[in-house]
């Protein structure tokens, strides 16, 4: 005798069948509701430059933010082999630093949420330095990573601003480190301008990164600066408890039990904030490029 599937089981089976038959989505494992699916063949898809706060004068912007420039739509065009292209379209989002050791750049997508539920962030990414030398250059990108910027709703009793950060520390001062790190610290909040309306902090400051337990991972870098391979990542986070649930990169799933986020008091104008950002950082005086082929953000609501 066979069990009769429930309507819920049938619906889930149908959802999975449709996902797996869709070439654009089949390589993702989204939760039941897709919040956004960006493949950058339809434009920048809402991934914009992270601009720093300021008041009255742009000179008030913290230097960490002042260095940022706009992300680009790239075909990964290389001087020696032409356009590499994306995973299955011509384009990927490109986040490029300036050619200076420690330089960073960030692209951000800004949403709000309608339910504090588990969310899943999946992406295919790769990174390379600018191919200015005929060398492997595997230690020229310091790090690439991503962060969320979250805050509970205005009627939530436990609302705080929560910023989970994860980076792949590829190299530091020329050493090929290759490990995942997280961050619980930001810089002190600094008033910007003459009123008390605007504050700023630099959450991507180089201090305070901690190792993800057993977080060493050797990624596919390939053999010259102009060959790239796309890498999968997945980060699960619960907006209800504001805790990380799981993190995966390619074939490795990492222990998140020791993970925590930057946590700061709720701010007066950021309710239900649901921001996602990617960043890149240079380890030499050479531009570091983070390419994002596609991003799928989903939620269980």
């Amino acid at each position: 005798m066979t069990d009769t599937p429930t309507a819920r089981e049938l619906a889930e089976a149908m959802r999975l069948a449709m996902l797996r038959a869709d070439p654009k989505l089949s390589r993702f494992d989204p939760l039941p509701r897709i919040i956004s699916h960006d493949d950058f063949s339809r434009g920048h898809c809402g991934w914009s430059q992270l601009v720093g706060n300021y008041e009255d004068d742009l000179d008030t912007m913290l230097p960490g933010y002042a260095q940022h420039t706009s992300a680009m739509l790239s075909t990964l065009g290389h001087w020696d082999a032409g356009s590499h292209g994306g995973y299955d379209s011509s384009y990927a989002l490109k986040i490029a630093t300036r050619p200076k050791t420690g330089a960073q750049n960030v692209a951000i997508k800004r949403l709000t949420f309608r339910k504090r539920c588990p969310i899943r962030f999946e992406a295919y990414f790769t990174f390379k330095p600018e191919a200015t030398e005929l060398k492997l250059s595997e230690t020229d990108v310091r790090s690439v990573g991503f962060l969320f910027d979250l805050q509970g709703g205005d009627s939530d009793g436990d609302a705080e601003r929560v910023m989970p950060h994860l980076r792949f520390l590829n190299a530091l001062d020329g050493e090929h480190v290759q490990k995942w790190q997280f961050k619980r610290e930001t810089t002190t909040f600094k008033p910007i301008g003459a009123t008390d309306k605007t504050l700023s902090h630099y959450h991507l400051a180089p201090d305070g990164w901690e190792d993800v337990p057993h977080g060493a991972q050797r990624l596919c870098y390939n053999e010259i600066p102009t060959k790239i391979n796309w890498t999968y990542l997945r980060f699960d986070f619960d907006l209800a408890s504001m805790q990380a649930l799981s993190f995966q990169c390619n074939d490795r799933v990492f222990d998140m039990s020791g993970f925590d986020s930057i946590r700061i008091p709720a701010m007066k104008n950021l309710w239900c904030m649901l921001n996602f950002a990617f960043f890149a950082e240079a380890d030499t005086n050479k531009r570091a490029f983070l390419y994002v082929d596609s991003v799928c953000v989903s939620g269980d609501f």
């Binding site: 706009s70 490029a96 300036r98």
Partner: protein, 111 residues
């Protein structure tokens, strides 16, 4: 679907002096670009011509042919319109000794 159209901020509150240029901007998807340069502060000294540059790889640059006078007053704007630029764009200017300008450079791209 509507064609892609975006505004990129490639230099914001940067003080240009000597040989100055924006960061390379990759925009091969765009058929046309309008580039604006605004002086955010009163420029100091004689202001040079700025030029649009193109590149085969984002690393080696040459003049595209479009030139314009750098703005000479605070909040003055200069612009250039370009098309058929391939994949890479930047704006460059060579400032004589003692001259400088704090600029906002924006590239407006359309498919």
């Amino acid at each position: 679907m509507l064609p892609e159209n975006t505004t990129a901020i490639v230099a914001r509150n940067e003080t240009w002096t000597g040989e100055a240029a924006t960061e390379p901007h990759e925009a091969g998807w765009a058929r046309e670009a309008v580039i604006f340069v605004r002086a955010l502060k009163q420029p100091t000294g004689p202001q040079p011509k700025a030029r649009v540059e193109i590149s085969p790889d984002g690393m080696h640059w040459l003049a595209e042919g479009s030139e314009f006078d750098m703005p000479t007053g605070k909040d003055a704007i200069a612009c250039a319109r370009v098309s058929n630029f391939g994949n890479w764009l930047r704006v460059a200017a060579d400032f004589p000794g003692g001259s400088h300008s704090t600029v906002l450079v924006t590239i407006h791209l359309k498919a």
